[in-house]
């Protein structure tokens, strides 16, 4: 039993910092509103509206931007009726009446972002600015209490996601929780497997010590 206690202590020395980080980051993540951190709290469902069905361009007249076209969808994009022509990895937009390519410019990106945005309670989110984030991504910044950024694909008009300062905080905590210091959120690597195995040993030996102690000296 003395050996078990010694081993419990030494494994404790080895992993106590990570165990504290696991419990601490887990606790804070649990305390933070997950819907807010994931950008779900500001995400509005796209409006469901009847589609105009007259004077539509036939499918055969649409441009064919990909060698393999997997689907062609008729949909509203902000106030415009478009065909979305989807290939394997990406899609392109065309005006449903003229077949002209639809360019997701700043105004359209802003309109899509607004449509996808639901103000947080007690606050009016106002788009503060719209800018290229990367070459193919628009970023629309909203002036709400968590500084929401809405990301819009500049080629396909997709709402890529809502992120805010809580998102970044939780990602930092997940970095500690997953021990992935590259920022990739990979939790399948040797370092964490070893640490987790040691932590398992720590908890199991702890329970054994607890049971022994309770049988020997009770609660004292």
């Amino acid at each position: 039993m003395k050996a078990l206690r010694t081993l419990h202590r030494w494994v404790g020395i080895l992993v106590f910092i990570q165990v504290l980080l696991w419990i601490g980051s887990g606790l804070v993540i649990s305390l933070l509103d997950a819907d807010l951190a994931r950008g779900k709290a500001t995400r509005a469902d796209l409006p469901v509206a009847p589609l105009v069905t007259e004077a539509l361009l036939p499918v055969s007249a649409l441009p064919r931007p990909f060698a393999g076209i997997e689907s062609i969808r008729l949909q509203m994009l902000a106030d415009t009726l478009v065909y979305r022509v989807a290939g394997r990895d990406s899609s392109r937009l065309y005006d449903a009446f003229s077949g002209e390519p639809v360019v997701v410019d700043e105004a359209l990106a802003l309109a899509i972002a607004r449509q996808s945005y639901r103000p947080l309670s007690g606050g009016e989110g106002v788009p503060a600015n719209t800018a290229y984030f990367e070459e193919t991504v628009w970023r629309v910044a909203f002036a709400d209490r968590v500084a929401t950024n809405v990301f819009i694909g500049a080629e396909d008009g997709h709402v890529l996601g809502h992120r805010n300062n809580r998102t970044e905080l939780v990602e930092f905590l997940l970095m500690l929780h997953f021990m992935d210091y590259t920022g990739g959120h990979d939790f399948n690597h040797p370092l964490i497997v070893i640490a987790a195995a040691l932590a398992l040993w720590l908890t199991l030996s702890g329970v054994l010590l607890l049971v022994t102690s309770l049988r020997r000296v009770g609660l004292g």
Binding site: L27, A49, T53, L56, E70, R88, S213, L219
Partner: protein, 233 residues
């Protein structure tokens, strides 16, 4: 009570309350970090196929013609269903139906045999389909928020694979297998949400994590007495 005695008591009393949960956190953690996430997602079960509609783009009926007698429509899409070009139409209330895009004829949902064929197109192995079930109510929790009805196609393999197929579009929606189910069960234990297995903001988890943090801190305190203070003495 001396600080050291207090730390020892605290460590022990907290262990009584949260010790079992800490073992569960550790067991579930070891599993989740040890089994590669791609395996959990079932990537090894799936053959990447990309059904295209290219060949028939000049032959499909014009959407304006198809939609002329379909009433109010909120969604409209051309896809390939088991090699046939079909128009998927969403009506008010989200109800969906499929039309043959070449003839405009309404198509019934996939039958069991067609659902099995659709699943097999996406299945990498050579194992046979063992069971095909059309789920219409009380779906297993493993399909999440998928709309019903949906075909469940089980394969006779060591993974315990289930593929989920949309009866209207023939689309491959989800795959599940034993290692995923174990992961999901352990995830439930990890986040202590025994109902939906999704809510990480629940009170029980917050309470136990708080107590566990106190326990780990008191343990650290004990390590300090054992290794630092004694070493200095």
């Amino acid at each position: 009570m001396s600080p050291r005695r207090l730390a020892r008591r605290l460590h022990k009393w907290l262990a009584i309350v949260v010790g079992a949960q800490m073992v569960l956190w550790a067991i579930s953690g070891v599993y989740m970090v040890s089994v590669d996430l791609d395996i959990i997602h079932g990537d090894m079960l799936v053959r990447k196929v990309h059904p295209v509609v290219n060949e028939t783009l000049d032959e499909v009926l014009p959407p304006a013609e198809v939609l002329a007698d379909q009433g109010m429509v909120t969604g409209f899409e051309l896809v390939s269903r088991l090699g046939t070009p079909v128009y998927l139409i969403t009506g008010p209330g989200g109800k969906r139906r499929a039309l043959d895009a070449l003839t405009g004829a309404p198509l019934p949902g996939l039958d069991a045999e067609a659902a099995a064929r659709a699943a097999q197109r996406h299945y990498r192995g050579n194992n046979a389909v063992s069971k095909t079930t059309l789920l219409t109510r009380n779906p297993p929790s493993e399909i999440g928020s998928l709309a019903l009805p949906v075909w469940q196609v089980n394969f006779d393999d060591a993974w315990g694979s289930s593929f989920y197929i949309d009866p209207v579009s023939g689309a491959f929606l989800k795959r599940r297998h034993t290692l995923w189910r174990v992961f999901d069960f352990l995830w439930m234990l990890h986040i202590m949400d025994y109902e939906a297995r999704t809510n990480i903001n629940n009170l029980l988890l917050r309470l136990f994590a708080s107590l566990a943090l106190l326990m780990a801190l008191s343990g650290t305190w004990l390590l300090y007495y054992r290794f630092v203070r004694r070493g200095a003495a």
